[in-house]
């Protein structure tokens, strides 16, 4: 049977708290107790549909979210402060009704990794970010075209220096190696010829233009096809390559599945499906999120969570919006965890997975959680009211310290087994127990 067959709850893979939390950790940024309970009740089909439709969040979403976000984003660009633009994005992650869209925006930021270090223009960085968001679930061809015919990426990859008779291969190479085909699916000659096809795509006064005088309209042979190709022809050719579908399938699996969960056969099958569906990202994401493979036991708790999830997830689960955390402060913590938004380390993006963890980033993660538990993310300082949170949601069932810890580990990790809880001493303050949970190994996995 196909690993992509729709998931149906079984005794071995029941639709339980663990799987609801798993879904929200991978496809959103965790969930509140009420959201978890709702999805547990309504089943996986409805839960996945809610995520795809931007209806996963029940609470903690401002009524006028979009207009507030627009104002914050514009003010950030006007201020010229990259910190404020990072804060804007975190505001979106925390308060959007559509967390899957933000997660995918982050994924595309990593796929088309562009750093403001070189672009040096917040307006362009935000514009690119909006493209990733707008096309987060569209066809990959539309996303690719929009992302490339846009100043941030063109400046980042030296397109303005790519002129007839003076080709610069940077854009052509990354387009093939990183954005579409992957190493091994093109030759150096293809890179050279593609660079020629892309001549004339440049930036003028902060906007994309096609400059005919800079374009080399001579004959080129790219991936075995000969013609007077231009940039649009090149994109079309690349998108038709089986390798492009394969790379897209890999990217989606890397984002939504854990270590060693998908095998080559499953990847091929997903890539074929993507080709048949015109590289429709939504189709790919939906196929994965609804699949047997996604909810299979080996896929649970099988990847190192990225810093944004690590930071935003507990804030959502613990209903922090009552005392909103400072998003500029959060962005700075992310930088210390090596995920400096708008400043990916290089054109390859963040390597992710186990590579997120080094001594320095682990210390940053732990210190962040200490600040969270102490309430230092909000101004004025406001520690989370755990007693109230627990009482609201568990009624009378969590009385002892052990029961309270169990509730928190269910909320945060979806785990019911006692293994997830550190040994507790009756009477240990809830804050200190929470800190132990949030800095333990389960907080690092999802």
């Amino acid at each position: 049977m196909s690993p992509w067959a729709p998931y149906k709850p079984t005794d071995a893979a029941p639709w339980n708290l663990e799987r609801v939390v798993h879904l929200h950790h991978r496809a959103a940024f965790a969930a509140t107790w009420a959201e978890v309970q709702r999805d547990l009740r309504d089943g996986s089909d409805v839960a996945v549909t809610r995520l795809l439709e931007g209806q996963a969040r029940l609470e903690g979403v401002p009524e006028s979210f979009e207009s507030l976000a627009t104002i914050i984003g514009q003010a950030a660009v006007d201020s010229g402060s990259a910190e404020r633009l990072k804060a804007w994005w975190l505001y979106r992650c925390l308060f959007t009704p559509h967390p899957l869209q933000e997660r995918l925006t982050l994924m595309w930021h990593n796929h088309f990794a562009t750093s403001n270090l070189k672009v040096g223009d917040l307006r362009l960085m935000k514009r690119q970010n909006d493209i990733f968001r707008r096309h987060a679930l569209s066809s990959f061809g539309d996303l690719l075209t929009a992302a490339i015919r846009d100043p941030a990426l063109l400046n980042w990859l030296d397109a303005p220096a790519n002129r007839k008779a003076h080709p610069n291969e940077n854009l052509a190479r990354e387009l093939m190696e990183l954005f579409t085909l992957g190493i091994g699916h093109y030759t150096e000659e293809d890179v050279k010829q593609s660079a020629r096809a892309l001549t004339g795509w440049t930036v003028r006064q902060g906007d994309f233009i096609e400059q005919p005088t800079a374009h080399d309209d001579g004959e080129k042979t790219i991936l075995g096809r000969t013609g007077n190709w231009n940039g649009s022809d090149l994109l079309k050719t690349l998108l038709e390559q089986p390798a492009a579908a394969h790379r897209l399938a890999s990217r989606l699996c890397l984002e939504f599945l854990g270590e060693h969960v998908v095998d080559d056969k499953a990847l091929d099958e997903l890539a074929n499906g993507l080709r048949l569906n015109n590289l429709d990202i939504r189709w790919g994401v939906e196929t994965i999120l609804r699949s047997e493979l996604f909810f299979s036991a080996p896929n649970l708790m099988s990847r190192v969570c990225d810093p944004v999830s690590f930071v935003v997830g507990p804030l959502r689960a613990l209903e922090f919006w009552r005392h909103p955390p400072g998003t500029i402060v959060m962005a700075d913590w992310l930088r210390r965890m090596d995920q400096d938004l708008f400043y990916p380390p290089n054109v390859g993006g963040w390597p992710g997975g186990r590579a997120w963890l080094s001594t320095r980033t682990i210390l940053a993660r732990s210190n962040f959680m200490a600040a969270l538990v102490a309430g230092e993310l909000s101004s004025p300082v406001h520690p989370p009211d755990l007693a109230r949170l627990i009482a609201n949601h568990s009624g009378d069932t969590a009385q002892t310290t052990g029961e309270k810890v169990r509730f928190l580990s269910q909320l945060l990790f979806g785990l019911t087994m006692d293994d997830s809880s550190p040994s507790v001493a009756e009477g240990e303050p809830l804050g200190s127990l929470l800190l132990r949970l949030l800095t333990g190994q389960f907080a690092y996995l999802h």
Binding site: K118, E259, A355, G440, L445
Partner: protein, 405 residues
């Protein structure tokens, strides 16, 4: 390419040192801890100090015996009796006594008249040239010479932080690679645990599988490293460790502590801003040179005491020197070639070439005698043991600045 030099006493030291004996716990103190097996504590390290703004080389390594010097520098002239003489004709600025001591100990090399053809007098362009090690701006793609070097060390299995940049600003283009990672550190607080965590008994949970074992091990190791780091901080804070309080001094102090803890990183990069001295430069320039040389001396002494000095070479450069003729505001304007310093016991200490002529100028600037890429080529080929032609995209005649090993 030469085989990596093995130093018996260093090996011995590694075995004996309590500090390093913990190193199996610290596979990658700052690097990604994907693979634990790639730490090679004997690897050679390059530390770059960037003197930002265009250092007035003529008042740094001073041709005091040349009468033209006094003629060009009427107001800014350092008097011959004040110059710290290195030989019969040149000497260091009087505030550079610590550097003079390094020189006398044979651990400082001076390369004079370093630059590149068709000098560019824009800070941005010239720095970009030094960072990329390419003179054509069309080749300035944001990937620097040390980034390209670190790229050659990237492999799917092994992980190392290609470079560590110490400073609050964005890492220099010089260390940015296509694939290699740059760790940027502002200060020591980045490597310490919050008190609430330190007091917490870490829940060492049972691992269910390889991934959770990896995570647990990484957490445990990181806490151990932080404790070790704060322990060494306490020790150092208690005694006088010799580093000046200047920003550069503190940056180099952090580099030294990282060197002692992290066997993986081979490139460190720091900068000292402030060298753009267009007016009234006498005092600020003296101050900068004092900071530079005292920080460098403290660092070299520390390395020597820690028996790390045979592993480390320091390169100090500025994007250009300044105009030979002083300007009317008691300062100097953007120029061309200037001196480069190399420090460390692997360096061939001394004055490695003559001072550029003060009578044969290129529109008022010193002419280049050594292309900076010749110095890079030597450091790449003979120190970092990478193919310099691959990195520099051209073959440069090596400049003989290292002791034979």
């Amino acid at each position: 390419m030469q085989p990596a030099r093995v130093n018996r006493s260093r090996r011995q030291f590694l075995k004996e040192s309590a500090l390093v004996s913990l190193s199996p716990l610290l596979p990658a103190f700052l690097a990604r801890s994907v693979a634990a097996a790639d730490a090679k504590p004997d690897d050679r390290v390059l530390v770059v100090i960037q003197l930002d703004g265009g250092n007035d080389g003529l008042n740094t390594v001073i041709p005091f015996a040349d009468e033209l010097y006094a003629r060009y520098r009427k107001e800014l002239r350092i008097k011959p009796h004040e110059v710290l003489k290195l030989d019969e004709s040149v000497g260091l600025h009087p505030q550079m006594m610590p550097a003079k001591e390094l020189f006398d100990a044979g651990r400082l090399a001076v390369v004079q008249g370093v630059g590149y053809p068709n000098p560019n007098r824009s800070h941005f362009e010239s720095m970009a040239i030094w960072h990329h090690a390419c003179v054509g701006s069309e080749d300035h793609d944001g990937i620097g010479w040390l980034g390209r070097t670190a790229d050659t060390w990237v492999s799917p299995e092994a992980s190392s932080s290609g470079s560590i940049y110490v400073g609050v600003e964005a890492p220099s283009v010089a260390v940015r690679g296509r694939r290699a990672n740059v760790v940027s550190l502002e200060n020591e607080a980045d490597l310490m645990l919050a008190p609430a965590i330190e007091q917490m008994i870490p829940p060492s949970l049972k691992a269910n599988n390889d991934l959770s074992a990896f995570v647990q091990r990484s957490i445990d190791q990181s806490y151990a490293a932080a404790k070790q780091f704060s322990g060494s901080a306490a020790v150092q804070a208690g005694g006088n460790d010799g580093y000046p309080a200047s920003k550069l001094g503190q940056k180099l102090r952090l580099v030294s502590r990282l060197l002692k803890l992290d066997g993986n990183t081979r490139i460190y990069y720091v900068s000292q801003p402030g060298y753009d001295t267009h007016s009234a430069q006498t005092y600020p320039h003296a101050q900068l040179l004092r900071e530079f040389s005292s920080a460098l001396k403290a660092f070299m002494t520390d390395l020597q005491v820690s028996k790390l000095d045979d592993r480390v070479v320091v390169l100090a450069f500025s994007e250009f020197g300044r105009r030979v003729d002083e300007n009317a505001s008691g300062g100097t304007d953007h120029g061309a070639a200037g001196p480069v310093f190399l420090a460390g016991s692997p360096v061939r200490g001394g004055i490695l070439n003559g001072h550029p002529s003060l009578s044969d100028l290129d529109v008022g600037d010193l002419k280049m005698q050594v292309d900076f890429r010749q110095v890079y080529a030597t450091l790449l080929q003979n120190w970092l043991a990478v193919d310099s032609q691959t990195i520099l995209k051209e073959q440069f005649k090596p400049f003989d600045c290292l002791r034979p090993s």
